[in-house]
């Protein structure tokens, strides 16, 4: 084919590309009249693929040659550098907050996008903590439209980097242009964006910088980048707009960001997607001046902005559709956040209505709603026949039709409104609750959560006007403050909530009892367990008067009481309550979440009681429920697996312990950020399981890794104490006795800090110390520690408990070594006499005791 012909054809392609069928035909008819070869060339070009070698850059020549034409600053020191587990490659792009590079993971070779964020004014560590928190929340929503962050850390120079999957695609608006999309296709694309943003809002993350370049679109759908980055990187002195892209920033962006801030950005985005240009001329040089421009000329008429030659998909768009599009964009970009859509979901629903030719809610407040036969048009207009009926009726009597439609619409509106309020209430609670799901880790997270919580309370005081809603929110906040450990605040919130509920429903109402239950839980957590039990019983009594004894709230109060009893160490009393709850809840279809809680509690009770096999089976049942409710890889599943693995260790089953611990670690390390407390706990658990199986080579480094991570945390924890003890066990089994002793003593120190009054942890530390001294041959020290362990175990668990029995056997061993045969024999006899269980752990202690009895007898015989 001749080059000149192709060039001529290319000219025609340029002109006709993106036009609708008939218009394109006109161009082709004009330009190719009597030239079949030219027409063929045009079709050849149009049919040719876009994919091409020539779109694959040969290299970053510009970067290599003069990397800093604009910055005039020498080559980028990051290129080629090794940062964390990555080797940084060539830059892929640059944004307001930093550069993006290609990078390769050194261990597994995967290619990722590596983004560096810089800001001179804020501290790197704080931002890492905050970004981690949000990355963690996002990881929980598993949305295909949200790019997940793999790894996040501080750079040595104070910047922050994170890595994420390398996404190919075009910026949203460009993609629509490149694909010559129709209006409907554009709206569908927009709905995908809404869906992803809503998913993030549902877990409490606001994007804060939505714009086309942060949304990459491809054939596989859209991907949103940089969630929640901008706020933590805002420059406080210049306001967040320092990094925010001005045209998409809502007016309140300078002061306070909410989900409605994202709604605003989506409004601008929708207009841009429809018009292929911003809905206002962006001539302002600063965000502030743009803001002024917008205030002066707010809410442009989209229709007047459409350039129909450049936007063929807007041709022949009816006046009504224009009004609807405008109404949606305007509603989303109201300057007052309270007038905007309350949630992205609502905006998406309006876009969907538009796509399906149904009434658009945004138009309801505008004159169009009533002055044109809008509702009739939209309600019935989508069916040709119905549209005909409307026309016919209109001829018969316009007035009656209007009143009919009015009534129809009014009833719909009321029903919708009621549903809407309920939905909104639930949504608020869900969102707020999910904000704090993560608040169980380090103090840093707690502090952050608390500041978030304060913000949420502030917002709630504005949102929730009716006392009923307020009571609900205060209850939610109270439990959140309880999670983060601010008990005083939790107490006052519960008190306010109780006062509100009492005023609305009366003191004897289930609503009030529900808050009393919360107070019972809180009091128990605070350490005032007797009072906790009393409160739970009071709530139960109230509930029982109003509800059947098998009603879910009554069972919940039983579980609350049982939890207090567990804290008190009254496992025997807790057990029947929990067993009853489990039995009842099994037959209530909607109670699966409550059933799961009760099963877990019961599993813990059995574990405390030394019935490890029973505990495993209960945890497995609870896990099966959570697998269905929360998904197979939810962090909660990891937690269950950890408990199960722990019980297997007690049963001396290294194979099952290792298997479950590995699975737990896999789930937790994939759903939580590295060095999350739970991940470290899982590492500890796996190490301990491996050590039990004698695989010290793999166990030791894992122990050290977990302990290093735990040492980084600002406060000591139970996990740290357990890790030290278990590492001590492992070292003792390897014969590295002085090191083992050191670990146990360190563990005892941690335990003493954690628990002022001696408890099971104290007993375990003493047990470990005793066992090590015994092996070292220092029987005197061994005896002292063993006696202390025995005293504590007997006091805490009673004589029949497997832990007490194990300690008795150890002490007997130590006594035998010292020739105190009589006392040893007495101890062993008592141990055997108390043995009731027939589980594996008890059996093992018994056989050990029998062996020792034998030895004692032999020793007796030789001495006489």
């Amino acid at each position: 084919m001749k080059q000149s012909l192709m060039l001529e054809a290319f000219d025609i392609v340029q002109e006709s590309w993106g036009l609708a069928g008939p218009e394109r035909q006109v161009v082709l008819d004009n330009r190719c009249a009597g030239r079949p070869d030219l027409l063929e060339a045009v079709e050849n070009i149009e049919a040719a693929p876009v994919d091409s070698n020539f779109d694959e850059p040969l290299g970053r020549v510009i970067e290599q040659l003069l990397p800093d034409i604009s910055r005039a600053a020498g080559p980028d020191p990051l290129v080629g550098a090794i940062v964390g587990p990555y080797r940084v490659g060539q830059p892929l792009g640059e944004g307001g907050m930093g550069r993006v590079y290609r990078a390769v993971h050194l261990a597994h070779g995967g290619t990722v996008a590596f983004k560096v964020l810089r800001s001179r004014l804020t501290n790197g560590r704080d931002r890492v903590a905050r970004l981690r928190y949000e990355a963690n929340l996002l990881a929980r929503c598993h949305h295909a439209g949200i790019v997940q962050i793999h790894h996040l850390d501080a750079l040595p120079d104070g910047g922050v980097y994170f890595t994420m999957e390398l996404v190919t695609g075009l910026p949203l608006v460009d993609f629509a242009a490149a694909e010559s999309m129709t209006l409907n296709a554009r709206l569908q694309l927009f709905l995908q964006v809404c869906d992803a943003v809503q998913a993030a809002h549902d877990v409490g993350v606001i994007h804060r910088d939505l714009k086309p370049s942060n949304i990459l679109a491809g054939r596989d759908g859209v991907k949103l980048l940089d969630f929640g980055i901008s706020e933590s990187f805002g420059d406080p002195e210049r306001g967040h707009c320092a990094y925010m892209s001005a045209p998409y920033a809502a007016p309140e962006h300078l002061s306070e960001t909410t989900t409605r801030t994202d709604v605003y950005s989506l409004g601008v985005l929708l207009a841009e997607l429809v018009l292929n240009r911003l809905p206002f001329s962006n001539t302002a040089s600063t965000p502030a001046s743009l803001r002024q421009q917008l205030l002066e000329a707010h809410q442009p008429k989209l229709r007047t902005l459409a350039n129909e030659t450049e936007t063929p998909w807007l041709r022949n768009l009816g006046r009504l559709r224009w009004s609807e599009l405008e109404a949606i964009c305007n509603r989303a970009t109201e300057l007052d956040p309270a007038l905007r859509y309350g949630a992205v979901r609502e905006m998406a629903s309006d876009v969907r209505q538009l796509l399906e030719n149904r009434p658009v809610a945004a138009l309801r407040e505008t004159p169009v709603w009533w002055t044109t036969p809008y509702i009739g048009w939209r309600l019935l207009g989508r069916h040709a026949l119905a549209a005909g009926m409307v026309a016919a009726l209109a001829l018969l009597g316009a007035a009656s039709l209007t009143s009919y439609l009015y009534a129809l619409q009014a009833s719909r509106t009321i029903a919708q409104k009621q549903k809407h309020t309920e939905e909104q209430r639930l949504r608020q609670q869900d969102l707020l609750q999910s904000l704090f799901l993560n608040g169980d880790g380090s103090v840093n997270e707690h502090l952050m959560t608390k500041s978030l919580l304060e913000r949420a309370i502030h917002q709630a005081q504005v949102i929730a006007i009716d006392p009923e809603q307020k009571a609900g929110l205060y209850k939610t906040f109270g439990s959140d403050f309880e999670i983060v450990g601010d008990y005083a605040r939790a107490e006052s919130l519960f008190a306010e909530s109780l006062a509100l509920n009492t005023a609305i429903y009366g003191a004897e109402s289930p609503e009030a009892a529900d808050i009393v239950l919360q107070q019972a839980n809180l009091t128990c957590t605070e350490g005032n367990r007797q009072v906790g039990v009393a409160l739970a019983r009071q709530a139960r009594a109230t509930l029982e008067r109003r509800l059947a004894p098998t009603a879910l709230p009554v069972l919940e109060s039983d579980v609350a009481e049982a939890e207090c009893l567990i804290e008190l160490g009254n496992y025997d009393q807790a057990k029947p309550l929990l067993e009853n709850a489990v039995a009842r809840e099994t037959s209530i279809p909607d109670a699966t979440a409550d059933l799961s809680t009760a099963l877990t509690d019961l599993g813990n009770v059995e574990d405390y009681l030394g019935h490890y096999e029973r505990s495993i089976s209960l945890q497995e049942q609870s896990m099966a429920i959570d697998r269905v409710n929360e998904g197979p890889r939810h962090p909660d599943i990891g937690e269950h697996l950890l408990s199960i693995s722990n019980a297997y260790i007690q049963l001396h089953d290294p194979v099952e312990a290792t298997r479950t611990a590995r699975e737990a670690l896999d789930i937790l390390s994939h759903s939580l950020v590295p060095n999350h407390h739970d991940v470290l706990a899982a590492e500890r658990q796996l190490a301990s399981s491996l050590a039990l199986g004698g695989n010290f080579k793999e166990a030791d480094p894992l122990f050290q890794q977990a302990l290093n991570g735990l040492a980084q945390e600002p406060t000591v924890s139970q996990t740290q104490a357990t890790a030290l003890m278990q590492y001590g066990d492992s070292l003792r089994d390897q014969g590295r006795l002085p090191e083992a002793l050191e670990k146990y003593q360190a563990a005892l120190k941690v335990v003493a800090t954690l628990f002022p009054t001696p408890n099971a942890f104290w007993a375990s530390s003493h047990f470990g110390i005793a066992a090590t001294f015994y092996k070292m041959g220092n029987q005197k020290e061994a005896e002292t520690s063993a006696r202390e362990a025995l005293r504590l175990n007997t006091q805490l668990f009673g004589e029949a408990h497997v832990r007490t029995m194990q300690t008795q056997v150890l002490l007997a061993r130590i006594l035998l070594r010292q020739g105190k045969t009589t006392e040893a024999k007495d101890l062993l006899a008592r141990c055997k006499g108390h043995a009731t269980g027939n589980d594996a752990a008890t059996q093992q202690v018994i056989s050990e005791a029998n062996g020792l009895m034998q030895t004692a007898r032999l020793l007796r015989e030789t001495s006489t």
Partner: protein
Amino acid sequence: MCEQLRAKASLLCRREASPLVSTGDLVSDVYLRLRRHPTYSVEVARRSRLEFVWLVTAAMRHVLTDAARKRHAASFQFVPLDEGDQAAPIRLTPEQLIDLDAALTALALEHPRQAAMITMRFYGGLSLGELHETWGVSDATVSRDLALSLKFLNALLSPGKRPPE
């Protein structure tokens, strides 16, 4: 820096027989060529980004086309600059390179912007965002220019439809 580049460039000369071309080496060659170019200066580079980018990418194009003309037998394999990169090297025959050069020259007569964009993208590795920045046209225009130009080149250069030289 210049010394380093010279050393690299001489390395490229010694590797004449090898079909493997490292873009890092090409860069050196381009740099040397630029230094000899009458209109190039650091001042130009600072004054106009567009002009600078155009000069660099055009130089790159010439270096490659020249190399292709000299070595008709081998095929070119472009190794991405950063060694850790997992991306497969791009393979091009000398014919493809020469044909592309001719097609771009022809395209530039009627549609200079489109030709320059492809040149900058393919030889210079500019991203869409950078093209948009360099040219000062909208993202949509860049996407459209690139998409249509690629269709044109694919139609023109697909096997069996080589343009007459």
